[in-house]
Structures are given as C-alpha cells and as structure tokens.
C-alpha cells in the first residue's frame, strides 16, 4: 500500500513541480549569463497565460491538441512505470518493455505533431527529430537493458545486486548521455532550432495548444532526468527505507535536472549531420565497451 501511495504521490508531485524545475533551469541559465533572470515560477505563469489566450483554430490545431493531450497522458503513464524510489514492484520484467514502448511513443507523437502541420519549418524540424530520435532511441534502449543486466534484471527486490562494477558505470554513462539527448536540450534541440527553423515543430501552435505541448515537453524532460536518476539509484534503493528512498530519489532527479540545465548553457547547438555522426561514434564505443566489460565480468 505504501508503494502505491508513494507512486501516486510521485505522479502528483511531478506534475506540479515540473514547471518550477523549468523555472529553476531558466534561473540557472540567467545566473550563468550574469543577469537576474525570470522569477522561479515564470514557466508556470507562461503556461497559465497560454491557457487563457484565444484559441486560434488553424486547420491542424485540433489534431495537434488531441495529440498533445495524448502525449501528456503518455508521460503520466510513463511516470507510473518508473519506480518512485521504493522497489521493483512496479518495475518487473514487463515494465522494461513497457517503458521502452512508452518512451518511443512519446517521441513519435512529437514527430507526428510536426508532420501533421503544413509548415515547412515544422516538417524539417520533425525530420530532424526523427533522425536524432532513431539513433538515440536505440542507444537508450540498449543502455536501459545494459544497466538492468548490471544491477541484476530482477523479478523481485532480492535479485538486485549492490556492488558497483565497471560495466555498470559505462552503461550508466551511456544511459546518461542518451537520456540527455532525448530530453531535447542544446546541442540536440535540432527540431526547434530557432535560428533557422523559427521554433520548428512549435511554430504553428498558439494559446492552449502551445501550452499543452510545452507542458508535455517539460514532463518529458523530467522523465529522462528520472531515468538517469533511476539508473544511478538502483543499486542503493534496496538498502533504504522506502520513504527516505522516495525523497532521495526526487532530490536525485532534481540534481540530474540541474546538471542537464548547466550542460545546456555550456554548449552550442549542433548540426544534424555532425550530431548523428558524433552520437553514433560515442554510442558504438560505449555499447561495445559495456558489452566487453560484462563479458569479462568486470
């Protein structure tokens, strides 16, 4: 029962704090720019305002609204699958494929949103997302599997091993990179690249539709932060009291989010061909390393 209520608490908490986390991200960015920056609640204000705005129903606005609502739903479902710092109860062997399917569908929905649109920028943006997405999704899935193999792909709590291995570290690095890429931040926010595509996939949206899409994007960022956090946290999870684990897990997610935010400020935007090339090199190297490490039992 405790686990169920913790999981529900996790979802409720998440849906409420993500705008604030985004606000913190903007504040961090501003600080690194030597300026004051917006108030922490700014993203919250933005979304609230967008919902109060006139709904301009372009030809494609309605399907996009539907898609974005489904996207928010999917994000919440995904949160359900991520164990909120307590146990494997929800994260059985069935959860892994479920998680993968959910993440893949979130991505394809974003791409659908842009391809449904008539706008050229949105279409180009969509195709860019697709290119990066295909490569990244594969790496993300492999990383998830590798991590779980390392901590002991378990059917129950007892099977989780606690020792830290080299192969575990390399798998977590792979997972951290691919989930960062999946979170759609600079240098990999190619689909929305403002300078050439004028916000790309978002260009045509306005008012409540834009609000929903923006909200689902930050929810998505939270999910990917929590996947990295989960991989880091799994080996220790069993050792802790559920409530403490829950709190620590949330804090860890916030910490990962902040690391993501800082990384994004330090870098510039990549280009679709450079990005794919770099990512493929890095992923192939890391995957083979992890496999070798597992093979030799390091």
């Amino acid at each position: 029962m405790l686990y169920v209520s913790l999981q529900i608490a996790f979802i409720i908490l998440t849906t409420l704090i993500v705008p604030i986390l985004d606000g913190i991200e903007r504040k961090i960015k501003a600080k690194l720019h030597s300026r004051i920056g917006p108030p922490i609640l700014q993203t919250w204000y933005d979304i609230r305002k967008l919902f109060a705005k006139e709904l301009v129903l372009t030809r494609t606005a309605f399907p996009i609204l539907l898609v974005s609502l489904v996207m928010v739903g999917l994000c919440i479902l995904t949160l359900l699958v991520i164990p909120a710092g307590s146990s494997w109860t929800f994260f059985s062997s069935m959860s892994l494929p479920l998680l993968i399917v959910l993440i893949a569908s979130i991505h394809s929905l974003i791409i659908i949103t842009s391809i449904v649109s008539d706008n050229l920028y949105a279409i180009i943006g969509g195709f860019r997302e697709l290119t990066i997405g295909i490569i990244n999704e594969i790496a993300l899935i492999i990383a998830l599997v590798l991590t779980l193999i390392n901590v002991g792909l378990g059917y129950s709590d007892s099977q989780i091993t606690t020792g830290i291995k080299v192969s575990y570290i390399s798998a977590v690095i792979l997972l951290a990179i691919s989930s960062y890429v999946a979170s759609g931040r600079i240098p990999f926010d190619l689909g929305e690249a403002e300078p050439e595509l004028a916000s790309g996939v978002l260009i045509e949206l306005s008012g409540p539709v834009l609000g929903t899409v923006l909200y689902s994007i930050i929810l998505k960022r939270f999910i990917f932060a929590s996947i990295t956090a989960l991989a880091l946290f799994l080996p220790f999870m069993r050792l802790l009291n559920p409530l403490l684990a829950f709190i620590l897990f949330i804090l860890l997610i916030i910490a990962v989010w902040i690391v993501h935010a800082v990384t994004a400020v330090l870098l510039g935007r990549s280009r679709v061909d450079i990005a794919t090339r770099t990512l493929i090199c890095v992923y192939i190297a890391l995957i083979s390393l992890s496999t070798i490490f597992i093979g030799v039992g390091l």
């Binding site: 600080k31 690194l32 720019h33 030597s34 300026r35 004051i36 400020v265 330090l266 870098l267």
Partner: protein, 168 residues
Amino acid sequence: MKFLKLFVVAKKAGTVTRKYPFEEPLITEEFRGEIKIDPEKCVGCGACTLICPPSALTMRDEGNVRLIRYFVGRCIFCGMCAEVCPTNAITITKEFELATLDIDDLLRDLLHKRVKCRICGRPFLTTKLIKYANKDIPGSDNYADVCPECRSKLSIKNILKYRGDLDV
C-alpha cells in the same frame, strides 16, 4: 575543455543587471533627451524649425497665432535646435521616459501672438520677435509694426516723397 571557463567568467562578472525602473538608468551626463523650450525666452523666430532634420519642430501661421510645434515622436534628439536658437530658449534635458498610449501626448505646442500690420491689418511677426529685434537694432521701432510688404511700399513711397516725384 576551455568552455568550462564560463563559470569563471560568470562569477567574475557577477550579476550586472540594472534593476530599472527600480534603480537608476544607465545614462551618462552627456545624454541628449527630450528638448524643452522655455516659453519665456522663445521669440518664435523659427530658426529651429529650419535646421530640424526630421521636421519634428514645425512652424505654422494661422490667423493671429503662430504655432511652434514640437512633436517628440519624430524627434531624433540631435540637439541642433539648441545650437541655433538665438535666445537660448531650447535646453536639452535627459528625459527619455516619454512613452505614452496616446500619440497626442507627444505634442508640445507654443502659441505665439502675432502682431497685426499697422497698415494692412494682416498679422505677420510674433510680438516677442519684434521686441527682440528692436532690442538689437535700435531705431527700427518706426517700422516694427509694419509687415514686410507694406514696409517696402512705405519705403518706396517715402523715397519718392523725398525726391518729390510724388504728390502726397
């Protein structure tokens, strides 16, 4: 890895934001803002309206009124008017908070009374300009309240009278 120096750069600079409007703006003592025309000193000669590049300062004569209009909305804040003003009536202030919701709020009008010509009764120069001219050119009072047209007629008449060609 030099790009990590951003932390150093940002830390050294600190937060530089000026919290305008809660703090002072970043203006220097040389800044040229809105101009102010001192109605006491202005004589309505219109020198400023001739030099003003964007015609933000305009002059219009209507009946017995001369309108010197300063339209802040078109002003380029070059300050040439202050340089040419013969009476130093124009000063350059540091005012830049000029935004309004109504464009008419950006008008500054000076209405000068015009003197009626003693002879033909048509208004011509402003009262103050005549006073100003009299101060500088003594002895011009005689013709001060006569418009240029009548004045030339008058002088021709006087010359003719002097030469005795005309019986008056």
